[in-house]
């Protein structure tokens, strides 16, 4: 009987070691949370496998919060993945502080020397004196609009704030809901808050992230007033919808404020970029302010363990190469900032030209800029406003978010 017990434990140990051993086969696995890009990433992986000779795979953890939990415990257990995607901003700095993350200064020196990447892009991924990530995607936040609706209402792309507002008014008058905006997946609540803050008071917008501007201050209240007023006028679609992209594609609203990564998703939902829908950069309220957009840049990062493996570094280099960027653009509709690669679609091309012509400056996204500890609770509060969009809710949202914000910064000092 003792023998049986031994046999049993041997079997367990055998099974266990089998599952551990398989992880050590020579291949590169990109760990990420973008399940919706799994196929596209695998296409880049296949191309990389051909180019570098080492199999490259991808492994999706979804949803994002689950992925963060995985990363936290893997680093706490001292076993981070070699190569993985992450976010910039507060969570980026937090991760770098653990000391488990590799500096990519040498990789970047090569990338810039080749003339394919600008120093501006590099600095976007810099913390202190070092760079810790390369772009997975660089997305500008723009307004997608339905061309047929615009024609029906007899309007064109707005160049000023007044035009933007009157467009919404004319669409509404024509029986078309101007904006699609939902709380789908729980993270979207910040989108319009961020944009209205940026358009009305960029300085206050930036101040929010450093604790200098309170969430119940006048600039914020002003943004909520505009937002609530548009809701009252019926400018927004039902926030409870769980299919924002489809809502836009089906014409439930004629404009969708979103990252340019969504262009590929809208295309998949049946609209042709350039023909059925196009995009513009939202104008500022104060025309004297420089043109600006929110820029979202998802990074790919290496752990120190990963940097020590040449096959991992080669896979990373392939991803940002012209070939890699082209495969990625074709598969996902994303640009990663390689200036010698093809633009992924006509809309991104057009926006890039606009950015160059208007000298548009980039602002960080609220999602990345807000302290990581506050992100979840605050966005839930903003969602709450969208579901009951009155000034009464706004006041309580402002009070709650400021309470969280004040407590956070007080603890920081």
């Amino acid at each position: 009987m003792n023998f049986k017990t031994k046999l049993l434990s041997l079997a367990f140990a055998g099974l266990m070691s089998a599952s551990v051993v398989s992880a050590y086969a020579a291949e590169v696995t990109l760990v990420h949370d973008k399940a919706f890009w799994a196929e596209a990433l695998q296409k880049v992986g296949d191309a990389a496998t051909k180019a570098t000779g080492v199999p490259m795979k991808q492994n999706a953890y979804s949803p994002p919060e689950q992925y963060k939990a995985y990363m936290q415990s893997s680093i706490a257990a001292n076993d981070p993945p070699d190569i993985f995607t992450w976010w910039t901003g507060g969570v980026y700095e937090e991760l770098i502080k653990t000391g488990a993350i590799a500096e990519l200064d040498d990789v970047w020196a090569e990338m810039i020397k080749s003339g394919e990447f600008s120093e501006g892009v590099r600095d976007f991924y810099k913390v202190g004196d070092h760079v810790y990530g390369v772009p997975l995607h660089l997305s500008r936040w723009i307004v997608l609009y339905n061309k047929a609706d615009y024609a029906k209402a007899g309007i064109s792309e707005p160049k000023t704030w007044a035009e933007f507002v009157s467009n919404a008014e004319k669409l509404k008058a024509a029986g078309i809901t101007p904006f699609v905006a939902t709380t789908q997946d729980g993270w979207r609540g910040f989108i319009w808050f961020e944009e209205i803050m940026l358009r009305t008071n960029p300085e206050a917008y930036m101040g929010l992230h450093t604790g200098k501007v309170a969430y119940d201050s006048e600039p914020v209240r002003n943004a909520f007033k505009i937002w609530a007023d548009w809701y009252a006028k019926g400018y927004f679609s039902d926030p409870r919808s769980t299919e924002e992209v489809a809502d836009f594609a089906k014409g439930k609203g004629s404009m969708n404020l979103i990252g340019d990564w969504a262009i590929g998703l809208v295309e998949k939902a049946g609209m042709k970029p350039g023909a059925d829908f196009d995009a513009f950069i939202m104008p500022n309220m104060d025309a004297a302010l420089p043109s600006s957009t929110i820029l979202e840049g998802g990074p790919i990062m290496l752990s120190k363990k990963g940097l020590a493996k040449p096959e991992v570094v080669n896979a990373l280099k392939y991803f940002v190469s012209i070939d890699g960027a082209n495969v990625w653009a074709a598969a996902s509709g994303n640009s990663l900032g390689n200036s010698k690669a093809n633009p992924p679609n006509v809309i991104v091309k057009k926006i890039s030209d606009d950015v160059a012509a208007m000298k548009t400056v980039a602002f960080p996204r609220w999602w990345e800029a807000v302290p990581a500890d506050l992100q979840g609770e605050m966005v839930a509060e903003l969602n709450r406003f969208m579901l009951t969009p009155t000034m009464e809710t706004a006041e309580s949202v402002m009070a709650n978010t400021q309470k969280l914000n004040a407590a956070y910064w007080a603890e920081k000092q």
Partner: protein, 293 residues
């Protein structure tokens, strides 16, 4: 134990109740009206799975479908989008192997606890039974961390290991009670004939425990099949994902699945448990009777 109902004769109860049935129609009407609350959600699910997304959106949710054909599309698309095939296979494996091993180990433990006399039996029983008194939340963080550390997070082995463990204590309680009530004459006789303990367990006790073992197996299988919490925390990768976890796909990021699809998926995910219940109704009822669960 709690329900002293071991001598229930179902047929007799039925007969007795039929005899005493009041033929008052008003109460039948009231009963029918009340049971509508239970029927409507099922009706809603059944009509929705026969609709396309467009049809679902355009009509009242309770309206009859225009035809039957969309169900094929819905089923195929639900099956593919959520990779339900893999979820099915995984959950079936976790359920059959996990609950099977658990009930077998429980029978072994119950044998040791009831057929071999040694000191502090009660302590060892309580030690095993202690596995049922904690809320699941208290296991999550340590398991997640430990699984990560030894590299069995998101593996079939890791999932199976936990499911087996968590399904042991309850069958131990049931089988221990059962074995205590089972006559010892047969095993004493076998022992006299020089049979080893394992032989006594294997060829005398086990065959006599088939009834309660089946009942507890079914309960534990259903528990594993239905589990969402642990498969979310310990097995969230596509290859090891359980069926309930793959249902979540429709609730998660960036999917544009309509209710027609989601409901089809929910029905598909429930089918095995429903079929099992209908086929083995008696064993389930038996399980409920001995356990009150």
């Amino acid at each position: 134990m709690a329900l002293a109902t071991s001598q229930i004769d179902f047929a007799a109860i039925e007969a007795r109740e039929r005899a005493s049935t009041k033929k008052k129609w008003p109460s039948v009407v009231v009963a029918a009206f009340v049971s509508l609350i239970w029927v409507v959600p099922f009706y809603y699910m059944l009509v929705s799975i026969f609709k396309t997304h467009a049809e679902y959106t355009a009509n009242n949710p309770l309206s009859l479908p225009e035809g039957f054909s969309p169900i094929a599309d819905n089923a195929i698309s639900a099956w593919n989008t959520a990779k339900m095939g893999a979820g099915f296979a995984n959950s079936a494996m976790y359920g059959i192997v996990g609950a099977g091993l658990a009930v077998f180990f429980a029978a072994m433990a119950a044998y040791g606890l009831t057929r071999i006399s040694f000191k502090r039996q009660n302590f060892w029983f309580m030690l095993i039974f202690a596995g049922t008194i904690f809320p699941f939340q208290i296991y999550l963080i340590p398991l997640f961390f430990a699984y990560q550390k030894i590299g069995i997070i998101n593996t079939h082995f890791g999932m199976l290991l936990f499911y087996t463990a968590v399904c042991i204590p309850f069958p131990v309680l049931v089988l221990r009670n059962y074995l205590n009530g089972l006559s010892r004459e047969m095993d004493e006789a076998a022992r006299m004939d020089g049979a080893s303990e394992f032989r006594v367990f294997w060829s005398i006790i086990l065959p006599n425990c088939i009834g309660p073992m089946t009942a507890t197996f079914l309960l534990q299988f259903t528990w594993i099949w239905n589990d969402l919490l642990f498969s979310t925390v310990l097995g969230n990768r596509e290859e090891v994902r359980s069926i309930m976890n793959s249902l979540q796909i429709f609730h998660g990021s960036y999917t544009t699945a309509g209710p027609n699809l989601t409901l089809t998926a929910a029905l598909i995910a429930s089918l095995p448990a429903i079929v099992l219940f209908l086929l083995l109704r008696r064993h389930f009822m038996e399980g409920m009777r001995v356990t009150g669960v």
